[in-house]
């Protein structure tokens, strides 16, 4: 099986945990901090981002509250936090080039890093691996979400 399955062209790496409802992913690090970003599906729905503004370091968020605001020419909205915790780092590169999220949603386009306050319990509510792919496929097909298009230089 590929390490990077696709659903309608949208890449969903198996090693991440996903909030399918909010189109976000997290990568859990050895020190129990996490990196948070928007999924390929999310960047595709939003279109080419013009601005991405994460909350400041030190901001404490409950699950579901905005971690950032992002806007394209056709949409503006929040990136909702998949976990409760404190923002411990933000991706400063986004201030100069929000399209990093479009080009590299799972690497250079990360949004924030967090210190979760209830990682184990909240992680149980997310999906990873093939289960995540299957759940995302259900949503994409149920809502007939358009196929992902990738800009030049797109990377996984």
């Amino acid at each position: 099986m590929s390490e990077n399955p696709e659903v309608r062209g949208c890449i969903l790496p198996l090693d991440l945990h996903y909030s399918v409802v909010d189109h976000t992913w997290i990568r859990v690090h050895d020190d129990k901090t996490v990196t948070v970003g928007m999924t390929d599906v999310a960047q595709n729905l939003a279109g080419e981002l013009l601005h991405a503004k994460p909350k400041k370091v030190g901001t404490v968020r409950k699950k579901g509250k905005p971690l950032a605001t992002v806007e394209s020419s056709k949409w503006v909205g929040p990136v909702k936090s998949p976990l409760s915790g404190e923002v411990i780092a933000v991706n400063d590169e986004l201030a100069g080039d929000a399209t990093l999220v479009n080009r590299s949603p799972y690497k250079a386009g990360w949004i924030v890093k967090m210190q979760p306050t209830d990682l184990d319990a909240e992680l149980a509510g997310m999906f990873t691996g093939q289960e995540a792919v299957d759940k995302y496929r259900e949503r994409i097909e149920a809502e007939d979400i358009k196929a992902c298009e990738h800009v030049e230089g797109f990377e996984i």
């Binding site: 503004k53 400041k56 056709k74 503006v76």
Partner: protein, 128 residues
């Protein structure tokens, strides 16, 4: 003022332009969504010609960019998904010979005194 200070601020957007001026319809809704994304309490008040945006079957006909599938209906739906409150002026509805049944779902009808209350209670009012 930090970002966090914006949270829970009340923004009132007053929209007086309707479907006959499509270019004046999208932006106020976009700003309302932006404020909602910043965790503000946002209300859009449709009055005068703005009322026509809310008539069933009309917003889907307004499409600024012919190459995009985004219509005014899309914008109104996204605004509601962002938990922006949509309100319409009862007196203006009468001008357009509209009733509650003619208005898209999720819109509350309020009278003129309510707009004064909303204005006085808002932290900022944006007029369009």
């Amino acid at each position: 003022m930090t970002d966090d200070d914006f949270e829970d601020k009340k923004i009132l957007v007053i929209q007086t332009h309707g479907i006959e001026t499509p270019r004046r319809t999208y932006s106020p809704l976009f700003y309302a969504m932006a404020a909602a994304a910043m965790e503000m309490d946002v209300t859009v008040w449709f009055t005068m010609d703005g009322t026509s945006q809310l008539k069933k079957g009309e917003a889907e006909k307004v499409q600024l960019d012919p190459t995009s599938d985004v219509t005014l209906k899309t914008m109104l739906e996204q605004t509601q998904e962002a938990e922006v409150k949509l309100r319409v002026c009862q007196q203006s509805l009468a001008l357009f010979d509209m009733s509650l049944d003619d208005v898209i779902d999720g819109v509350e009808i309020l009278g003129a005194t309510s707009i004064i209350d909303l204005s006085l209670n808002a932290d900022h009012v944006m007029y369009f």
